[in-house]
Amino acid sequence: MPRPDTETAAPAAPARHTTNFLHRLADSDIFYSFRHSPVTVAAAIVTLLIIFGAVAAPWIAPQNPFDMASLDLLDAHTPPSWEADGNPKYLLGTDDQGRDLLSAILYGSRISLMVGFFSVLFSMAVGVSLGVVSGYVGGFVDALIMRIAEIQISFPAILIALLIDGVLRTLIPEAKSEQLADTVLIFSIGISGWVQYARTVRSSTLVERGREYVQAARVIGIHPLMIMVRHILPNVMGPVLVIGTIHLAVAIITEATLSFLGVGIPPTQPSLGTLIRIGNDYLFSGEWWITIFPSIALASLVLAVNLLGDWMRDALNPKLR
């Protein structure tokens, strides 16, 4: 008896598979649940807007906040343009260096998104490969990887990221630390988040490994690496994408937190967290805008991404509603 699921999983998928994709998407339950959830649509719009603002920052921002020469210290601490002392040049006011806040927020989102995105990619790469290997190879390798995962997961990710970040910063010479700040952050946040991917991928791999098509591939002598990449990986990517979306929100929060704590992105090229840290010092002197505007930007970004992740999880897993 032909098994339909074995057919679609075969490596040589028929060509109509792709041409029909858009039609099938439009008709799918996922798209339906998307269109019928106004909150999700709003979240998607907000996310896209922020991503657009971040990517297009060099062209749409009124000022380049990283260019110290363009800053005018005389303009420092200007309130938003609608306040009494506001300057129409600076819509959301300026910070302590005379940086235009709107531009700083656009550029800051760029850094926050970039660090978040690459951290997630890094986590994903580490977690997925360890998970596939763990599930496929089994035995001692599996036991070792899962043991490490178990110990790491019992500590909050932010603590792990903080520690790795702390250690790396002491290892890197002072002169290079500013340049490498984002790399250090991506590495720290990335390492702190791999466990979830590895666990999910491992259990799906265990299931897939037992399936007939993988058994068949083994019998005809296909290299294990080939089997993992061609046959198992495509089948475990769904849950990985869901975790990735939710993780993106966590990674952005972690970056912002580390930067706020003063061990993340330096103030010369501030991320949203760094901007909030800078502004926090002026909260009591009435200059609320330096903190509050970046905070709003950060909160809406994380909230929107979280909403998308939540929706995605529910849509892909109707059982959990």
Binding site: I151, S154, F155, P156, I158, L159, L162, L163, D165, G166, V167, R169, T170, L171, A249, I253, A256, T257, F260, L261, G262, V263, I276, N280, L283, F284, W288, T291, I292, S295, L298, A299, V302, L303, N306, L307, D310, L320, R321
Partner: protein
């Protein structure tokens, strides 16, 4: 029961050893401990002498054994930055952190569980929708942002609550407490809410999804089919079954409260261990960093152990099956 606890204890010891190894490696190989202790003008011979004295030339395994031995006795050496024994520094700051964490944990449990039960029982009610929206905001707002917003509203605009410190504390024996004075309680309010809010939303969502899951099970349907009252079903049968997984996660969450205290303590300049740890990271004060790591791991392990034992008390399936032998059909 004893075998179970012994097995758990062994696992805990193993975790502690792994953490100790990480702390030890950090202590010995990140930065040079000798460089941190002496001035630039110290001669090479003097350095070598100090190195020998500190045992830094011994085989790594011996050094690790010595490190563990010292750690067990609470000796983590001198802080580079404060030039005082790390243990003393921690002793001074422990009460502040524990008080804050405990109040935050109680807050998140006492509010989070009822909210979760309610949203689980009435998933489509309007109050449930408000709770769920609130929880999403709670998950999305980073802890430090909640702290800043609270300070902005209650300290800057309204001027009701202090924005930093512990207020007046009373010393009882070796313990300082802020729970006995009005200014201490006022100072505790915002940090505890800040720290507890994230955990509260997590606990609420967890209880809700467990509740929904349990309400779908066959034994709940069977209880309905027997005509039991809603109260007996929801609070007798369903709630008790959700508690088992909820307890496990809650244990982990409470552990992470101690870690998240780093952020809250920084925002509110709360004089606890977390604030000290963060300053240690900024100043590369390795002894404090490694001691903090071990201490936090220790808290985690103890909490997990307690949770495991509770688990055992609640769930009869985990108890030894002596009766199973005579249970043939």
């Amino acid at each position: 029961m004893t075998a179970f606890i012994i097995r758990r204890l062994l696992q805990s010891v193993f975790v502690m050893l792994v953490v100790a190894l990480v702390a030890f490696l950090m202590f010995n190989y990140v930065g040079d401990p000798v460089n941190q202790m002496v001035g630039i003008d110290t001669s090479f011979a003097q350095r070598e002498h100090l190195r020998q004295e500190l045992g830094l030339n011994d085989p790594t395994l011996v050094q690790f054994a010595r490190f563990v031995g010292h750690a067990v006795r609470g000796d983590f050496g001198l802080s580079y930055q404060h030039k005082r024994p790390v243990a003393d520094l921690f002793k001074e700051r422990l009460p502040a952190t524990l008080e804050l964490s405990l109040v935050a944990a109680l807050f998140s449990l006492l509010v989070g569980i009822p909210m979760g039960v309610y949203t689980g029982l009435k998933p489509d009610g309007w109050l449930s929708r408000i709770f769920m929206a609130f929880s999403l905001v709670g998950v999305s707002l980073p802890t430090f942002l909640i702290g800043i917003l609270l300070i902005f509203v209650f300290s800057v605009i309204l001027g009701w609550l202090p924005s930093y410190g512990r207020g007046t504390v009373v010393a009882i024996g070796g313990w300082t407490t802020g729970l006995l004075t009005v200014s201490g309680l006022k100072a505790l309010l915002m940090p505890a809410v800040t720290l507890g809010l994230f955990q509260l939303t997590l606990i609420m969502r967890l209880v809700r999804s467990e509740m929904l899951e349990v309400l779908r099970t066959d034994y709940i349907k069977f209880a309905r089919a027997r005509g039991l009252t809603d109260r007996a079903i929801n609070f007798g049968h369903a709630l008790k079954n959700t508690l088992v997984p909820v307890m496990t996660i809650t244990g982990l969450q409470i552990g992470s409260i101690i870690a998240f205290a780093i952020i809250t303590e920084t925002v509110f300049q709360w004089p606890g261990m977390g604030l000290m740890f963060l300053q240690a990271i900024q100043n590369v004060d390795i002894p404090i960093m490694s001691a903090y790591l071990i201490l936090v791991a220790f808290f985690f392990v103890v909490i997990n152990l307690i949770v495991d034992i509770l688990y055992y008390v609640v769930d009869p399936r985990l108890r030894v099956d002596t009766a199973k032998a005579n249970g043939h059909a």
